[in-house]
Symmetry: D2
Subunit: 390 residues, 4 copies
């Protein structure tokens, strides 16, 4: 019963800046807390808001020195690059349309990037950024945070170890209900930008569908071959999709379905993943993330719990507290930051991080955008199988 | 806290016969128990097996007089029609390919029919039988037994009462795992006929997919417009489908997905239905049938329990015991028989049964066959939207 | 996937009568349905109500011949004894104070007895009846129906097989909420007699506490050594207890707690049993009776389901339908009747029933009354350990 | 959907030191993470281990300057008091027997104390410390961390608002299984000191029983009048209790039971609280802490979820992320630290903290010790009702 796999301050902290995340933002505060949890990061710079007053106020509240609070990400990238004590990494937590240009600016300045998802508002931009990132050799971490949950890691390892046999079926879903009514018209800030196609690049498919897609791929280890979808906007006047039904065909023959909805009344963040193979099945619910249901064929179902003797090494290295004391969303998110920290530190000495270090990369971001484009295309064609191009 | 809605022997019992259901059969015993539960029926005749020895032995074990144990359904229909004390109803519990010819024989003999599902092995036969049944004025009850669960009735009534507002989404699934391996090759009788397309007319789609389709329609009150499917046979050498993914489009604009599988390891009879509208959502699991989860928009989820003050009249009239004392599969199945009994008794005096009496009819059977055909056609075409023709 | 352990009509049916269970009664209808489920019994006589009109009307509704509807149990016992086709068994489903005198009348007439619980309103009467029953050699079955659930049988067998090691802890509870308010003052019939100490002999302790006590003993195989209790009546003016907290000491050293309440808001029939030994633990909930949670020490928890390959023979022989199709309260109750039928049939040929046949007996009834007396005595003394005398 | 009630750096951080928590310790790392989560604290000093080498190594790993790593708490208290930039608060995370002497040293030095539970190894010491703390005017926070969970706060507010009516019943339990076998003999450090009565002052009763006692009192708002217990040591050779059954009598008439066990196989940290009143009931499970089950009398059960519109203000102010993204043990623990920070900051300006600020105090610690003493005394007397003296 000890906290495992964590050293509070193994080396000097990673000084980082943030783009977005000022007053009224949601995900920025989550990123800051995730960065702080294992004490690997220190926030020292920011371009926190496009409104100068908000940016200044937010920076002060967060203890950022006045001369490192910037009006925009370009100024920030340039100035921080020029400083001897400039930031080593940046967290980009803006609406989606800013992800690529901001990331480009920092990559060009030699600064590692941790970026919220989805990667961009279109596939083309994503692919272009991927080239730039790969050429740079810098760390690029995309915060598909559900991959940070210990029992998701456990599940992935079980599949990789062959415990499920050959995979046949993947069922994944991410229903919410917060957009059941047109609250974007009421001025709710989160709803407003997420339903504006220029800022978000899509609705449920991008906001949560990509999480579901990424999670299924992460655990199953499978790549999508093609999708066939039925995309809807149930709320009148809404400019983006709010319910997406998708048939999935994976390379190698597994089949599946994906459902993402923001109008399914009674669902908060009800991510559920089920994977079935010839020898067993797995089921995981994000709202009870410390439990993994394991169904070995012909034997009684087992409940695998985080921190218990049954949890494997892949789960154990991202586990903080003993079984029965639940970890949650923030711990999972923090695991992504801590994994990225390992990669950033390895980069200091031009090394690759240890093999056990796992976090979603630019390539996952490109795959996510390819998924979005294929889903929207399939539905636009009236329901055709569309191959993924990445 | 009293048993409601049941009178043990309101009138004379309905004398019935059975086709199929002899030694080694499964569903026949369920039908007999369901018929017996509320004491409305008495089994007096049978063509229990195509093997004369089995038929005789089975009849004796069930207390059927020797002269009313028949070698086949045609002899039975003819002889029972000729008797003064002939059967008033017949239960057909054979493999699917016998449903239609047997039903035809009894309908032509003026005998009410209670028939297992699916109705037939093809749509054409189903439609022909529907015409015959309608012309006869006889009762035809198809045992889509999940519609007999009290909280399914409750859910249906809530939708009908508008509690969910306008429906948007239907998610229904029926995963099992008993055909994960090719047990039909081991001589397992249930597996053998259910995977023989001549006897069953299809695999998972017919055996359990039609249950899911029927349940979703029963609760939502919606008719399917069209389907788009991806049908698989994962077990090598199997002659029928064992995993079916379907996109659903309902008349009026609701969308949905249906999953039926017999190779999803860890699932027993894991029927789950979720329906979402503009004002609320409902969730029901067959394996915990006494509970209905109700999600009124913007308010806390409620747990509605069978027999409790919260249960509506539609649930109450098919409820036997107080809340917290679970009812199960057999009680739900018995409700179908008891509803059919009400219809048969009304028919004695040329009346229609009370409006509250509900059971699946020949028309539901035709819809089910139309569903099967559309699903198989869609997949055969490589994934096209196919309209339902019934 | 077949119904196991059931033959519909192995031999001639057992003709039985009923004392109590007329119009407005609750448990009588449950007994009739339980008797009917496996087709071993036929109801042919009754003393269904102390009101002659009700008795007559009820008998007619149940198809009992007019000359076998009796005004009281003594007349019934005498007349049925005298008939050549007299009843072979009687079901006593009256308020508690009638159990012993009615049972005595039928035992003296050579008629087997199936009796509702608790056995009596005091220990002395129970012991006297036990002597009479033992001397008679007749079958006496007490309907502690929870012992009829398949997974309760499974649990009992696991303990007996040593799977849990040496038992240390028993936690059992039976909370309800239906007496949260003084509904006995509103004329509610069930509440009225159950809260009248002359008719019931006690409140929660007798009505549900004895069920909890019996269930814990049945599964654990342990006998109580002594109890220490705190008995309350929370509802003003109520004449019997409605909440009982008890410390348990079992022979051999296991310890436990028992809670029975009829004022715990939100509980329907929330029976829960937990048993822990040196090698494992078990947990069972009556409201989800098809599941048994098994905790082998140092290994992941397992979910054992009725009808599955994991279910042992003790569960299998009282199982009707395959896993995932839930059985409930009535099936469990019916198992008691079917077990009693096996004993009655064995008695026809002066044999003992097969060892696998299990049902609660007069001795369990005496133990239950000893438990009630000890609990009430302990609390009356202000909280002392009181040894059980039976 | 925004993080509420958190400002990252409202004022200057609270510089704190730590006693205990060096290499191999468990709870120290939890305290540090809890302190860090909302960025109110900075660790700058420590007496982390009684072993000088461990203390030095641990301090270095945690970034504590060499001159502020002390050999013992007395040296630390003296030196920090003398520094201009000395610590404002100290976290005491040692085995129990050090709590009181260490706290005394810091209180005497004018330093606020955050101390792990239970407060001491005997009631007398606890009372003496309480006097000292009260006279000092300093903040003393005892980390009964379960009171930091948002839905526990919600439950407490509901009770205080009268939603449950008059309370009748409290059922609380804290089963674990990690001491099922005598692992203290294997050198497992946590097991070793926790089962050494000199270091811990007691077994399950102190380690987890006090958590259960505190939680029940926190939510119910009730004070214990008296207890009656049955205390056991099931593991041979163990020097402290490992299973405790307790009957509870609260002032005002509510009754209850408390169970704490470290040998209940299959339980991790399975804290469960149930409270029932005349108008409703509540149920909360620590292993699923974001859910609170609310049972309004006569109405369907409701599921109240953290972060949802149904969550009250008491829950909302300690909530970080939106509903459906689970918070866990560390967030709850951090809430205690953040509440203490508010009190410490108020103390800077000689003010009382806002009324909404809640954390367990020295008085809760004294009550906990009174509870332990009464429980052990009751059992030692063979089971007598023992009044609590604090």
């Amino acid at each position: 019963m000890a906290i495992t796999g964590r050293s509070d301050k193994a080396e000097g902290k990673i000084k980082y800046g943030m783009v977005g995340g000022g007053e009224g933002a949601f995900i920025g505060a989550v990123h800051r807390l995730a960065a702080r949890m294992d004490d690997h990061y220190e926030l020292v710079a920011g371009a926190l808001s496009s409104s100068p007053e908000k940016a200044t106020r937010s920076a002060k509240a967060l203890g950022i020195a006045a001369d490192r609070s910037y009006g925009d990400y370009e100024a920030m990238a340039a100035a921080e690059k020029a400083r001897k004590d400039g930031i080593e990494a940046v967290a980009i937590v803006t609406p989606n349309h800013v992800h690529v240009p901001a990331a480009r600016a920092f990559i060009k300045s030699g600064i590692h990037v941790i970026c919220d998802k989805p990667l961009s508002t279109n596939l083309k931009d994503a692919i272009a950024l991927e080239k730039l990132v790969k050429a740079s050799g810098l760390v690029f971490c995309l915060t598909h945070n559900y991959t940070g949950y210990p029992m998701v890691r456990h599940a992935r390892q079980m599949v990789a170890d062959g415990d499920l046999g050959e995979l046949r079926i993947v069922q994944v879903e991410y229903p919410q209900d917060w957009l059941t009514e047109p609250i974007e018209k009421t001025g709710q800030k989160q709803a407003a930008w997420r339903t504006d196609p220029k800022l978000s690049g899509g609705g449920a498919i991008g906001d949560i569908g990509t999480h579901a897609h990424n999670l299924a791929g992460f655990v199953s280890g499978l790549d999508l071959d093609s999708v066939l979808s039925d995309v809807d906007t149930f709320v009148k006047g809404r400019k983006v999709d709010d319910n997406v039904n998708v048939l999935l065909r994976y390379k190698g023959g597994a089949k599946g379905m994906l459902w993402a909805s923001q109008v399914a009344v009674g669902n908060e963040n009800n991510v559920k993943l089920r994977v079935y193979g010839t020898k067993g099945g797995l089921e995981w619910h994000q709202e009870h993330p410390n439990h993994l249901h394991w169904f070995p064929y012909g034997q009684p179902p087992q409940l695998l719990t985080r921190g218990s003797p049954a949890a494997n090494a892949a789960a154990g290295r991202v586990t903080r507290v003993p079984p029965g004391h639940p970890e949650g969303y923030l711990e999972g998110f923090a695991n992504i930051y801590t994994e990225a920290a390992a990669a950033i530190r390895a980069a200091r000495s031009k090394k690759k991080p240890d093999k056990a270090v796992i976090f979603p990369t630019i390539t996952d971001g490109v795959k996510g955008m390819a998924f979005i484009e294929a889903v929207l295309k399939s539905s636009a064609k009236g329901g055709k199988w569309v191959k993924l191009t990445a």
